[in-house]
């Protein structure tokens, strides 16, 4: 950029999507990531932003039911999509069975990776109701826990699978 020349005003684009069941319509810059859109524009700060280049998994959300790194998506790409964040996976009162298992198993230390872990774990349990330990570890391999609390995280997903398999009384 030439010194002194003001930058051209950025083009803003309209995007309409569903976030946690609610219809959302906003104008965004094309370069706005979905992660920043959720946090900054919608104040859904449960989605954590770690590495911002698709390595750490902290910003994982569900797009039409499938996990994706929200730092690697542009908000404008989500036109018509159904996005589910950690807020959308949390019941209005209390915790989901997987969240409950994380609490029971002490599956978090600093908590930074937890939203991404819960999203990835939710996707796993939806597709594979009774995963073995290797399956759990593989499903969570894209989510880094810098506290290295993996043992209890794996245990929590296994415990949630068992609880979900038992019909509610």
């Amino acid at each position: 950029m030439t010194a002194g020349a003001p930058p051209a005003p950025a083009e803003r684009l309209r995007v309409r999507l569903t976030v946690n069941g609610a219809a959302v319509e906003r104008e965004v810059e094309a370069r706005r990531s979905l992660a920043d859109f959720l946090r900054e524009d919608l104040a859904l700060t449960g989605t954590h932003v770690g590495c911002e280049h698709g390595v750490c998994g902290a910003c994982t959300v569900l797009i039409d039911g499938r996990s994706a790194r929200s730092c690697l998506l542009l908000a404008v790409q989500l036109e018509g999509a159904r996005v589910t964040t950690i807020e959308g996976l949390t019941p209005a009162d209390g915790l989901s069975p997987l969240q409950e298992a994380f609490r029971a198993c002490h599956a978090m230390q600093c908590g930074f990776c937890t939203p991404g872990m819960i999203v990835a774990g939710t996707e796993l349990l939806a597709a594979t109701p009774a995963p073995d330990e290797a399956g759990i570890r593989e499903a969570l391999a894209g989510n880094l826990c810098m506290c290295t609390g993996y043992v209890n995280i794996v245990r929590a997903v296994a415990q949630a699978a068992v609880r979900l398999a038992v019909p509610a009384p």
């Binding site: 698709g54 542009l74 990835a120 894209g142």
Partner: protein, 283 residues
């Protein structure tokens, strides 16, 4: 870690995407799954003035049978769908298995066949699998579609036969022989492989053995292929072919593994992949 500003277009067809590329020579980038490009945008290692989002071009999502018993695949097929599609698992199980090894679940849900091929990471699974399967890539440009064999497509580290105004639109995979094997070694599930081998053989005169992570592009391990075609069903063949495999490797040393270790892996993985392939031939 935020991208520089760019204009954004989401064409509805591949032809429109090509026209958009031509409208901004050298300034436009194609966006498919975004699993390689968006990190580069975020780090500002890529600064296109126009981003052409292919995700509106539904014609590029096809997974179709080809009349010869093979497959016709659109560039926008996601790795997760490639791994799970019954048609792919039936007609080209090597390709489905390779797709299962790409990245993590969240990456496979978004990342695309065309994106992996166009990015051309030398340690990537799909380029190696398609070279082993003798696939042909359809490159769509302003002058129409040109078809390039996988063997001609990969030119070096992140370098392909694609020119600036072209779009990788489709991949045709011939009917696959019965014998196939796929092996890789990675530090963790989902990491890029330190080294890997894809093998495809018919138990008679046809064998293609391809190494990845062992050179600047996926490479045919021709010395190993010679050993296999000479005596495909001999019990000693996989080990002898493995011993021959390192001759065609030119691996790099990096923080993850030394060149010497990668050569060793090529030997072991060639042997293992060929045992799998011969086991699947049946009698």
């Amino acid at each position: 870690m935020k991208p520089a500003p760019f204009r954004y277009a989401r064409p509805a067809t591949a032809a429109e995407a090509v026209a958009l590329l031509a409208s901004s020579p050298g300034e436009a980038k194609l966006l498919a799954g975004g699993q390689s490009l968006v990190p580069l945008l975020n780090m500002r290692l890529a600064r296109p003035s126009l981003l052409v989002d292919l995700n509106g071009a539904r014609e590029l999502e096809r997974i179709d049978p080809a009349p010869d018993g093979g497959l016709r695949l659109g560039a926008l097929v996601r790795h997760a769908d490639l791994a799970a599609a019954p048609l792919v698992r039936e007609r080209s199980p090597l390709l489905a298995e390779a797709a299962r090894h790409v990245g993590h679940t969240a990456i496979r849900n978004r990342g695309t066949l065309g994106g992996s091929l166009a990015h051309a990471d030398p340690a990537a699974e799909l380029p190696a699998a398609l070279l082993a399967l003798d696939a042909t890539l359809g490159l769509l440009g302003p002058r129409g579609m040109r078809r390039v064999a996988a063997a001609e497509f990969f030119r070096g580290l992140l370098v392909t036969a694609l020119v600036e105004d072209e779009l990788l639109a489709e991949v045709t995979v011939p009917a696959a022989p019965r014998g196939w094997g796929f092996m890789e070694i990675a530090r963790r599930p989902g990491d890029f492989a330190l080294a890997g081998v894809a093998a495809s053989l018919d138990g008679r005169h046809h064998a293609r053995v391809v190494g990845f992570g062992v050179a600047d592009r996926p490479v045919r391990l021709r010395a190993a292929e010679v050993v296999v075609t000479a005596a495909p069903r001999d019990v000693a063949t996989p080990a002898r072919a493995g011993a021959a495999a390192a001759a065609d490797c030119d691996p790099a040393t990096d923080v993850h593994a030394s060149a010497e270790y990668r050569r060793h892996l090529a030997t072991v993985l060639t042997e293992d992949a060929l045992r799998q392939a011969v086991g699947r031939l049946g009698s």
